[in-house]
Amino acid sequence: MPISRRDFLKLTGLVAASSTLGSCRPIYNLVGDPPITGWPPSSASDFLALNRLTFGPRPSERVHMAEIGLKAWVEEQLAPDSIDDFACNLRLRNLDTLDMNGQQLFDLSNKLFDDFDLETVPNQLRQGTLLRQVYSKRQLYEVLVEFWNDHFNIATDKGDCYYLKTVDDREVARTHALGTFRDLVWASAHSPAMLTYLDNQANHKGAPNENYARELMELHTLSLHGGYNQTDVMELARCLTGWGVKEHFWRGEFTFDDNKHDSGDKVVLGERIVPGGQDEGEKIIERLARHPAAAQFIAEKLARRFLSDTPSAEIVQKAARVFKNSVGDIRATLRVILLDGLPLANPKYRRPVNFIAAALRMLNVESDCGFAVQEYLLRMGQTPFKWPTPDGYPDRKEAWQGNLLPRWQFAFALVRNEINKTELDLGSLTATSGSGESFDALASLLIGSALPVVERDRLLASLRSAGASDDEVFPIFAGGLLASPAFQWR
């Protein structure tokens, strides 16, 4: 722990300053992290909290948390529109598809006499997502966007999802991440990407397709034990017949086709459905979003993401109560989970995206988050928007623990500056090497506090005996910290 303020400044000052060095750097460095002017060291609980609220805390975020405390920090982040994100938006400026509508995305992908371009649009979405996770100042918002994109998972490999997911990401997760659960489910149910991914565009009168109806209840709202049965699935599927996607004019827009809608009598979850076209499905969506089972399900899932693989029943109950009483207000639910829960949170294993984003953020790395970085994500098993099944990437340690090697490969490639379009300014970092304090500062940056002297010196001795020169020790030490068991947890 005893890292002096002076040493930390030396390190973080150089890290911040490094972003303005070099003549060929793009303009956005000029508006990057401001230099740090004061260093109150993080408490262990602040460090843990920031590791849940962000994709790995930057030094500036640690300083800010120390200044204003958890509660105020959370409140600031719950109002993302009031946080200036100019620097991050500049990085997105070449990703021109992120703001396009379905028809535009389709036209851009349609190469007329050649095959469709199935890569450009989803690649920009992946890159944009990672850039935001690493560089946006609206970190809690980005954490929630990832959460909802997992919850309403869509793989870009399926049919037209390769371009429709860009619209879905913007109009479902990004529009409603901190709004109400009802609006999220509503938007997702009207999302052409979702209706395509789960085959509802093929759900017609007399020829029902149960896929979306089942997952709407099992994965999106009630959960498996939420009190529905197979008959409810089949009846809900009938209610949703005719919900689909326009295929010609305004391609990629939601459409309801009354001719394909089954207007017969139906009973869903014990209630008779009054025939009413599109209204039938929408009324059920309202019911599902307000159902007590959904409150319990979402509260538990949020608590798992932020607090522990096995969150305490007490905090889940409290959050579920607030969720229910506030009619699915996500901010209100989060306040319970974060403010009551974070002080008692258990360690979480970093998922691959978090592992990479945290390394890039904590070491102030310049990266385009493009193919080179994503190649490591692929090997680690978490390419954004590639999880094939509708349950989304797992959020339990068991799913991720058995694949250490790609993390080690990334850690050492990063410190050796071997990753294309990804630059760690080791020159500046090594300028502080040679003293024990610089190693302690590095450890504090990455794992929250300095290593015990014995452990630090043992590691340094093993490096020296492996022939590491003075110049090599500092980067390999940094790689070792990233590769260490401690850094795999947050």
Partner: protein
């Protein structure tokens, strides 16, 4: 904070396995994720109800003159036939090294992929059962004297749930990629770092041991992606993740690194919509992969068993979008040198209105644990099937000997 403290509650090898037996076969477990439409893989062409339920999707009878020859099923025993893309499996079927168990599956009737897969990989009847996986418990309950870190692996990027348990298991996508990279000097430094920071961490230690073993395989001359020569020159694994996984498995078996169980996933079987072409491609990948593996492993078949499984089957009737919805009864295939092959095992429940169950599903007449339990007992020398499948009294079905 220390480098290792946070991992101190990771599972440890806390007990000695209760059973000791000599090593048996290498078991390759192939999971077809998404609920494969087995009625179109092993087609009951002697069942008129099948064609009534699937007027558009049904695979034509082997002698159906109205259908093109290449679209017809391939007869197995005058009642069942294979999907035409399963043709590569005919040879091992005729050599009696491939057995089929039809109408096989789990008791769970949730029709939920995620519940069904979880229960099946844990090998339990309901969620109150042990959280570990059935393969994990098999490894933990049996001491074969094999201390290799490659006793079991999950092929791919994430280790399968079935592997979880007290014995650490790693994921492995490609042997050629499994190295630290860099010049010898850099590797030595990285290695020294990892040795120190993972000195007290079992999963990390296991990964380091795997690095050592795979390094000795020397990827350049004989075993690397480019240099590896399958058994017969005519044998080609499909250029797919599944083909890659089988090829890696074959390499590990030939290199005698101590592999006992390999878990492989082949996903994409959730065919609610326009399934014909999707199924054809998936079945092609599966059949060509298995056939290549069979040829490549010709000298090792005596000590090899491969099994395919899926979380459940699909509805007997096609849906309105040329696909099929979630069903119940499934099908398993077992390949190896000690298989009662060339036989469709199991009791066929039929597809008439009175014979299908739930919303119109193929019934389950054999539990998947009967098949796995028999393989573990007879081919893997594990007498403690009760520990692998707690609370289930398995019934051997005469699939292997």
């Amino acid at each position: 904070m220390t480098l290792t403290r946070l991992s101190s509650w990771l599972p440890r090898l806390a007990f000695a396995p209760p059973q000791t037996s000599p090593r048996g076969d290498t078991l390759v477990v192939i999971f077809l994720r998404g609920a494969a439409d087995v009625l179109n893989m092993v087609v009951p062409h002697g069942e008129p109800a099948y064609y009534n339920l699937r007027p558009s999707l049904g695979i034509p009878r082997p002698d159906d003159k109205r259908a093109r020859t290449i679209d017809r099923s391939l007869d197995l025993d005058t009642f069942f036939g294979l999907h035409p893309q399963m043709r590569p499996l005919l040879e091992m079927w005729q050599e009696k090294q491939l057995a089929i168990i039809h109408a096989c599956g789990a008791p769970d009737e949730s029709h939920s992929h995620f519940k069904a897969m979880e229960l099946m990989e844990r090998g339990v009847d309901d969620e109150r059962g042990p959280a570990s996986g059935w393969i994990g418990r098999h490894l933990a309950s049996l001491d074969t004297g094999n201390t290799s870190p490659l006793r079991a692996i999950g092929l791919g990027n994430l280790p399968q749930r079935s592997l979880s348990g007290s014995v650490p298991v790693s994921a492995l996508r490609s042997i050629a990629d499994f190295h630290l990279g860099g010049d010898p000097r850099a590797v030595a430094q990285m290695r020294a770092t990892l040795n120190t920071i993972y000195a007290n961490d079992i999963p990390g230690q296991e990964t380091l041991k795997i690095l050592d073993i795979l390094q000795k395989l020397d990827p350049s001359p004989g075993y690397g992606q480019a240099g590896y020569k399958p058994q017969a020159t005519s044998t080609r694994y499909p250029e797919s993740n599944f083909g890659l996984a089988l090829r890696q498995t074959a390499m590990l078996i030939k290199a005698e690194v101590g592999l006992e169980v390999a878990a492989i996933d082949l996903g994409g079987w959730d065919t609610h919509f326009a399934q014909s072409s999707i199924m054809a491609n998936l079945i092609k990948d599966l059949a060509e992969g298995l056939a290549a593996f069979h040829v490549d492993m010709a000298d090792h078949l005596d000590k090899l068993t491969a099994v395919t499984m899926s979380e459940f089957g699909r509805r007997a009737a096609e849906n309105g979008s040329l696909g099929t919805d979630h069903g119940h009864g499934s099908m398993m295939m077992v390949m190896g040198g000690h298989v009662h092959g060339g036989i469709v095992h199991g009791v066929w429940p039929g597809l008439d209105q009175s014979q299908i169950t739930g919303p119109g599903d193929l019934a389950v007449t054999s539990d998947y644990r009967d098949v796995l339990g028999e393989i573990l007992q007879k081919r893997m020398n594990n007498p403690a099937i009760g520990e692998v499948f707690p609370g289930y009294g398995f019934v051997p079905r005469g699939i292997v000997y």
